[in-house]
Symmetry: C2
Subunit: 301 residues, 2 copies
């Protein structure tokens, strides 16, 4: 593998082979390819893109760079929800216990605040002593016991993605649809899910307001999920104003608890129910979205 | 200066301000900006280009990163020749002594072999004991004494260019006209020349066969020279086959000496004379190219 030749080919609009991308990503993850060569390649990808085969190869190499959760012993369906991030988005904190209470295992691997958007982990850690850095074995045990786990991406899970993401953040190469899709989906596939619901935020308060093709991003992730036995559904939801009334880590946890007590603001409840309904349908615990909503209503009551 | 924002603006096709480029290049030269950010910017420049103002700012920052030769005390015109490189191109080894013998100071800062093309320094070092790493003061003394100096780019001369060039070589960002022009011209302007002749090679054996716009490269360098008091002339010459008969360091030195003895192969003599004539006209030692050719004929005889 001669890295400058790979960069040059992508720069010139050529397709890279799956085995080339795999070798490159694994070598980068093992610190055998320097950041500056990967940065040049990422910028070439910004301009030239990656096709579906390349995007899939990139994601598979990231998966291969670390460990996966092995949740196949759990007797329940395993469904996660992922949001591309916005302001006041505390939906994960409501959905994980709510959907778990209805018989779904929800292994929710979340992130930190990014840019102006808050992070579920930061919010939860406003609860003194709350620990999100669970080892894979711990997470598996907790999921068997209570049905949900709020997890941070440990060093063991897709480390190539962690390293690539930090580099993209420093080199103005974040806003690239196939890179976003492969990054998110590598973490989700590593959770060995039986289904995934995506909340693609759209509007001025979303993480990527310049990314005006939310549908393209959604389709890319749906395709990656389908290729790896993880049926994926995406909703595009508005992020032109904060979701709910509360912004700020502790305030958002309090508002999430209010939703669980049946006293949440209507916009937050609506997004939570819309996503939760898709999770329950994917889990085959409800056959219609209306039935799923009734289940959630019952659980909250 | 927030580097990812600069990268982003260039990526999006915006112009960078001269002061921004200056600050960035000086910070990079001082190891305060990491290679990976510069690599991403270089790839963005590959796709978006640099306009004349940006190219000039880049070159001036590279100049500012180090020392210059101060040759203004020399009583003669100071003219250099630069070739973009090819196979069998030993013209510098003939021209420096030939033109110096006619009353011109020739401070010839040359390079090493690059890709498949040979380097003048490598060729000269096939002479046991030949030393090209002259400190600026040494070079100035030698120029005063014998009229020519064959120099390598020391760590003191435009260090930002050395560092940038090494990065471009490793990141597939060599073939960018404004970057090539600024790199070459920064070294030439640092020689405090009164004139410069460029030999832009064209064809399959040139260093940049994919760069099909030699005239654009030539014009960029002519513009940079004009902005810095260094009148610059460019010839575009054929590099579809090796120049002369000899390839290989020692063999090429021998062939260069043969030219000086009046026994060189016709193609090599022709390119040497064409470039030498421009040097003598720029030096105002000849008023026509025919007159300049007669002077060179006389010197060789």
């Amino acid at each position: 593998m001669i890295v400058p030749r790979l960069i040059e080919r992508k720069r010139d609009g050529e397709r890279l082979e799956a085995r080339e991308l795999r070798e490159l990503v694994l070598a980068y993850s093992a610190d055998r390819v320097p950041d500056y060569q990967m940065a040049a390649l990422l910028m070439a990808i910004y301009f030239r893109g990656l096709d579906r085969t390349e995007m899939n190869a990139l994601m598979e190499a990231m998966l291969e760079s670390g460990k996966r959760l092995d949740l196949s012993r759990l007797p329940m369906p395993r469904i996660d929800k992922h949001s591309t991030g916005g302001v006041g988005d505390k939906v994960s904190i409501v959905l994980a216990p709510l959907i778990a209470s209805l018989g779904v295992a929800v292994p929710m691997m979340s992130g930190r605040g990014l840019g102006h958007t808050g992070g579920t982990l930061d919010k939860l850690e406003s609860i003194p002593g709350f620990r999100t850095a669970l080892a894979p074995a711990e997470a598996e045990k907790q999921l068997a016991r209570i049905g949900c786990a709020m997890l941070s991406q440990t060093a063991e899970i897709v480390p190539a993605d962690r390293k690539l993401y930090a580099l993209r953040d420093a080199t103005a190469t974040v806003e690239v649809i196939p890179l976003i899709a492969a990054s998110i989906m590598s973490k989700k596939i590593a959770e060995s899910l039986t289904g995934l619901v995506l909340d693609i935020k759209r509007g001025s308060g979303s993480f990527l307001p310049k990314l005006d093709d939310e549908l393209e991003l959604a389709q890319a992730m749906i395709d990656l999920g389908a290729q790896h036995g993880c049926p994926t559904v995406a909703l595009v939801t508005a992020m032109d104003r904060p979701l709910g009334h509360a912004c700020g880590n502790a305030l958002e946890v309090a508002e999430a608890i209010a939703v669980l007590k049946g006293a949440g603001p209507p916009d937050l409840v609506e997004v939570t129910y819309a996503l939760g309904a898709e999770m329950l349908v994917l889990a085959t615990l409800a056959s219609t979205r209306e039935g799923a909503r009734a289940m959630m209503d019952g659980a909250i009551r």
